[in-house]
Amino acid sequence: MPLVKAGKIVDDQYVRVLDDAPLPDGVPVLLTAARFLADAPELVERDAPVGVLWPNDRRVTELAPWIDRLALIALVFPKFRDGRAYSQARLLRERYGFRGELRATGDVLRDQFQFLLRAGFDALEVKKPADAAVFAEAAARFSVFYQPSADGGLPALRRRLQGTPVARVEPTGPAQSGRPDDKLRESRERTIG
């Protein structure tokens, strides 16, 4: 499954340890929710990044104490029709200020790319290689949005008030990490200028 970050297919640096096996030293690891929560205070002191694979039926509030110490949170789409992780993503970005990598895993298809990016994901484990290959196009399918979102795009309601003309936005790939507020400001400045 190709991993797409910042518009490019990249290698996954994380080793998945989805059981109680010993952790490899000095390597980024992706752990289950249970394993992470059981040893969180020690795990966040590791000398390599720690990520957690968080199920879509568990409140992300539980991660709040560790939000600044986690390098990666991977959310799950068991079926692309199951949209619970969109809510989790927005909460993590907008309410808990998570600035690490937010990764979509599971049934991640091209027709969802733009929804995912706008909900705050910045890394997508794409199910079909053919979808990953057309990432840039699929991620820029729509240039107009009505609502503010976690990727900092300027909503139509605001653009109207500012008299911003409709311009075809160049595909930028997944949103860069950073505070949503900063991005909103940047994009405002960009579109006003």
Partner: protein, 552 residues
């Protein structure tokens, strides 16, 4: 009218381009039907018994004459020369070819129309009162709020893959013409004790196999909070709504299982964290939307011009129509005219391309180019000068949309049923047609007074049978179509679910049963002006049950 700007038009065009690509991938086999299904559903495309069906949204039921002409064009060019207006302010075309769908959508996009979110597990077309903006009893035009919410939920990054579909209605009148209580979320604009305007928020209404009326979870919500609160409801539903069973996935089940109070508490907690954020409504944003709703340049006219009284005396047909299909307008000298799409023997809600074109022309001549679509599957000309009514009546009569049966027993709401729908267990349309033949005598229908019959061809209840004064539900039993009859339902501000009167009856007997019920009502009513629904409320269903089953 609401005027789309370049941003709105760009989005609709981009949507057509996306769908064209998806259809191409489906036709080439790159997408399986399973993968294509949710994508086409997001654009209102269903696969029915005979062909694909395209559902097009008519947001809050408002159409320009130009848009109506385009609906006629699509009916003629891509379908079989007619369209079907639904109970949710949509139009459906039942005979569209997959290869031609993108072209049909591109044509619709040319007038700002689309099928976005008319199906699929997302927020559906926002509906409201078909008399919005002209009803004397409304406190504000609810379409401004419907449009605000419509924009906000269109292609929403968080709420496009909900557990199940999500229907929102907005109302602003003392008399509810938008069937608020049967919606997943209803916003009722009203004034609180301090005279401030805000929303009563109701959730968890819905029909289907487990009908519920919506429950109030917030009696008064300030206008500035409407988007943040709607998001809080949607987030709560998206996070906790059931996904294990399609029949238990609607928000009504979540509200029922948690209890309205616990649900409200969950929403409140969520909302407290977001209410002062980016979604707090900026008055400038609202003003911008309101400014793009334009109202006609009404003339200064007086109510009840003498010519009308003369015409009523001279022409009994005009008199009957005036008494039935014409309602008071908030501007003196004007009237709201309902066009019945329920002729004797017709399919409820169907209009031919020729009728649509003619109505568009009449709208230009008599109604400032505006047409409305109501959930009762009739059309409305919302701004008719009273002095033009006799002329308009002749023109409407000539195209078959002046049957003076609005609100009467033959003004039937019906789903397409087994004639079209792959979900249906039984026919609906032929039942409706037969009832209109039995009660074609207008004297008889008028004597029965206001009486709503709603027919669904399966448990999904698209024909809203639970809230019909008489509800008819078709089910399949041992390979036969049989029909359950309920009495006493209604969808207005005192909404109620109907009560079953007894065992289901065979297809061939349904119209007879309706005649029996009508006859029983005539005998049972306390006074000639006691409405059917009030008689049922007073007597209960028992005397009707006795009458219907005495000889069966």
């Amino acid at each position: 009218m609401y005027h789309y700007d370049e941003l709105d038009r760009t989005l609709v065009k981009e949507r057509v381009a996306e769908f064209r690509d998806q259809v191409a991938r489906r036709l080439s086999g790159e997408l399986t039907e399973d993968e294509f299904k949710p994508l086409r559903l997001m654009n209102g495309v269903y696969l029915q018994l005979h062909a694909y069906m395209l559902r097009t949204a008519i947001p809050y039921g408002t159409l320009s004459s130009e848009q109506l002409r385009m609906l006629a064009h699509v009916a003629r060019r891509y379908d079989r020369g007619y369209g079907h207006f639904t109970t949710r302010q949509n139009i459906q075309y039942h005979w569209i070819k997959l290869e031609e769908l993108p072209d049909a959508m591109a044509d619709l996009a040319g007038v700002g129309m689309h099928g976005m979110q008319t199906s699929g597990n997302c927020v559906r077309n926002i509906t409201t009162d078909q008399w919005a903006g002209v009803a004397p009893d409304e406190i504000e035009d609810p379409r401004i709020w419907a449009e605000l919410v419509r924009q906000h939920v269109t292609l929403h990054p968080e709420f496009s893959f909900l557990p199940r579909k999500f229907k929102i209605a907005v109302g602003a009148s003392s008399h509810d013409r938008a069937a608020l209580a049967i919606h997943d979320l209803a916003l009722r604009l009203h004034r609180n004790g301090a005279g401030e305007m805000g929303f009563e928020v109701m959730v968890g209404g819905g029909l289907g196999r487990t009908p519920f009326l919506a429950k109030t979870i917030k009696p008064f919500l300030h206008k500035r909070d409407v988007l943040s609160y709607v998001e809080a409801v949607l987030r709560t539903y998206n996070s906790f709504g059931r996904r294990d069973n399609i029949y238990k996935a609607r928000i009504k089940i979540l509200v029922h299982e948690l209890g309205a109070e616990a649900f409200a508490k969950e929403v409140e907690g969520e909302w407290q964290s977001t209410k002062d954020g980016a979604l707090a409504l900026d008055p400038a944003v609202l003003a911008e939307i309101a400014a793009r709703f334009t109202y006609p340049d009404y003339l200064k006219l007086k109510d009840s011009p003498p010519a009308i009284a003369q015409a009523r005396r001279a022409d009994p047909g005009f008199d009957a129509w005036m008494g039935n299909s014409v309602a008071n307008h908030k501007v003196p000298g004007y009237a709201i005219v309902t066009l019945s799409l329920k002729p004797e023997g017709g399919t409820p809600g169907d209009a031919t391309a020729e009728q649509m074109d003619a109505i568009a022309d009449l709208a230009d001549r008599y109604s400032f180019g505006e047409v409305r679509v109501g959930h009762e599957q009739n059309l409305v000309l919302p701004h008719v000068a009273q002095r033009d009514l006799p002329e308009l009546h002749r023109a409407l009569d000539a195209i078959g949309v002046a049957t003076p049966n609005v609100g009467l027993i033959t003004d039937i709401i019906s789903c397409p049923g087994l004639d079209y729908c792959s979900l249906a267990n039984a026919r609906s349309i032929p039942i409706a047609q037969e009832i209109t033949r039995r009660f074609k005598n207008l004297e008889l229908a008028r004597n029965l007074g206001r009486l709503h019959i709603n027919i669904s061809g399966c448990i999904n209840a698209c024909g809203h049978h639970h809230v019909g004064h008489i509800g008819i539900l078709g089910v399949e039993k041992n390979g036969e179509e049989v029909y359950q009859i309920t009495l006493g339902g209604k969808a207005d501000e005192n909404a109620k679910l109907g009560a079953l009167i007894g065992p289901a009856v065979p297809y061939a007997q349904v119209a007879d049963v309706i005649e029996d019920i009508a006859a029983a009502y005539i005998e049972l009513r306390a006074r000639p002006d006691e409405l059917f629904i009030d008689t049922v409320k007073r007597t209960g269903v028992e005397p009707f049950r006795e009458r219907v089953y005495a000889t069966r």
